[in-house]
């Protein structure tokens, strides 16, 4: 008659760990408000438009500034060949809505 005690203790421990993680996350977010503000100011000062994540191609470095056909720009019907291109979701406009 002790296995269920071990199980209940394990579940409670896991829930507690999860709650500690979530709560520490909330406090991290609160303390990062200043950091976010500084980042937004930096974006404003340098007039940045994109995040510096994928630097392998123009359309992955500046997705918001690229043409919708940029991944296929080399020649007609060329395939998209940069790996990061397969991670990015095409902008909603590319599906037809909002295209002028």
């Amino acid at each position: 008659m002790h296995k269920h005690r071990i199980f209940i203790a394990a579940i409670i421990t896991e829930i507690l760990i999860l709650m500690v993680l979530f709560l520490s996350g909330i406090s991290r977010l609160k303390s990062a408000e200043g950091l976010l503000q500084r980042k937004t100011e930096l974006v404003k000062s340098l007039m940045l438009t994109d995040l510096s994540v994928w630097t392998e191609a123009r359309y992955t470095r500046h997705p918001s500034q690229a043409d919708w056909f940029a991944p296929f720009q080399d020649y007609p019907s060329s395939i998209e060949h940069f790996p990061a291109g397969s991670l990015l979701h095409p902008p909603s406009g590319a599906y037809g809505e909002g295209v002028e």
Binding site: A10, I26, E41, T55
Partner: protein, 386 residues
């Protein structure tokens, strides 16, 4: 209450009897939850952070398009745009890309023009750079082993190499924005890229009334049909859809993990092993009610799925917010030579956690209970004989 605890105790003993199988299922189930939760946490946190910081992006950018490609824009376009009612300043932006043959990396080169005279935080060193000086991002500094005062050679479009002195380096905290940046004076930018004095990369247009941005963009398109105005709303919308769990490879990973879970649950739902049937038959024969057997199976499913769910979720959270998505990094990096370390803020969407729970725990428990119910309502003799 005592009865329920006894049934739980029996369920745990029954799982422990088949410990290798049970632990194997818990390990696989936890791994699936770990993958699914990592994907959901990463994409949501990335998106939220992008949306937060890009609120500071220019409200309207005007690009010139020539033969379907982005082209440098003549400065006089700006003067004409400034005449549109409601338009404030028009600031040219000068930026481009530089391929560094020694590291194989691509850098984004910008001129510290326009609002570049502002004092910058998140930078060690001085800003704006004077002639012959540059300010670089952490990624550039690391790939070229640069520190303040060291020199970085940059080959211009005329083939001549120019040595710039590093006047400042952006801090690690700003890497998500500045990792690959090289900022130099406008004079140096024009000298390196030979862009001429009358052309900019694009124009930032200040609009006094935020509600008028779309109208101003429409007017610019009417006056200059060869331009493409990009509003801040469009930039934010791009980032809203860009890094989504539904995107390309992320969806493949997500789909793979989900399919693995379906196979796991299906294996359970498809039927009971001879041993499990035998057990149900014996329990019925010694007086267990159908409802007791159902409760026994419920507890078995609950133990397996709750332990797996919590373990997987804790693992996913630690993976993304404490270890910077290190397992996904090789896939995320692609061909990028310089890549920022993901130190994302722990934005969490409780809705996603609840959906993940309902998509995995509940179907698994249902898949455990259903075949037992079929066996439990059958005569014990028939069940035991198989």
């Amino acid at each position: 209450m005592r009865k329920h605890l006894k049934i739980l105790e029996y369920a745990l003993s029954s799982l422990w009897r088949r410990k290798f199988k049970s632990l194997g299922i818990i390990a696989v189930f936890s791994l699936i939850i770990f993958t699914l939760s990592s994907i959901l946490l990463l994409t949501y946190a990335f998106k939220r952070e992008a949306m937060e910081v890009l609120r500071g992006a220019p409200e309207l950018i005007v690009q010139r398009i020539s033969a379907g490609r982005h082209e440098m824009i003549p400065s006089w376009y700006g003067k004409r745009i400034q005449e549109i009612p409601g338009v404030g300043m028009v600031i040219p932006r000068y930026w481009g890309y530089y391929y560094d043959p020694s590291t194989g990396g691509n850098y984004t080169v910008m001129a510290a023009a326009g609002r570049g005279d502002r004092k910058l935080e998140m930078l060690s060193g001085k800003y704006p750079p004077a002639g012959g000086e540059v300010v670089v991002g952490k990624g550039v500094a690391e790939s070229r082993f640069l520190s303040e005062g060291s020199r970085i050679p940059i080959k211009g479009s005329d083939g001549q190499v120019r040595n710039f002195i590093v006047a400042g380096i952006f801090t690690d905290e700003s890497s998500l924005l500045t990792n690959d940046l090289i900022i130099m004076s406008l004079m140096d930018f024009r000298d390196v890229f030979k862009t001429g004095n009358e052309r900019a990369t694009d124009l930032v247009v200040q609009v006094f009334n935020p509600d008028e941005v779309e109208n101003v963009a429409r007017k610019i398109r009417e006056i200059f049909p060869d331009t493409r105005p990009i509003t801040r709303k469009e930039i934010l919308r791009t980032y809203d859809t860009l890094f989504d769990w539904r995107s390309g490879m992320v969806l493949t990973m997500f789909g793979g993990a989900l399919l693995a879970f379906i196979i796991l649950a299906w294996d359970k739902a498809a039927g009971l092993s001879a041993e499990e049937r035998h057990e149900i038959g014996i329990l019925k024969a010694i007086g267990w009610e159908t409802s007791d057997i159902m409760e026994l199976r419920f507890w078995e499913g609950f133990v397996t799925s709750s332990v797996s769910f919590l373990t997987g979720l804790i693992g996913g959270y630690l993976h993304i917010f404490f270890f910077g998505a290190s397992i996904f990094a090789p896939a995320l990096k692609g061909w990028s030579v310089i890549f920022p370390s993901f130190r994302l803020l722990p934005y969490l969407n409780p809705y996603q956690v609840v959906v993940l729970m309902f998509l995995t725990v509940i179907p698994y428990m249902a898949a455990t209970i259903f075949p037992s119910w079929k066996a439990a309502i059958t005569d014990p003799d028939v069940v035991m004989r198989g």
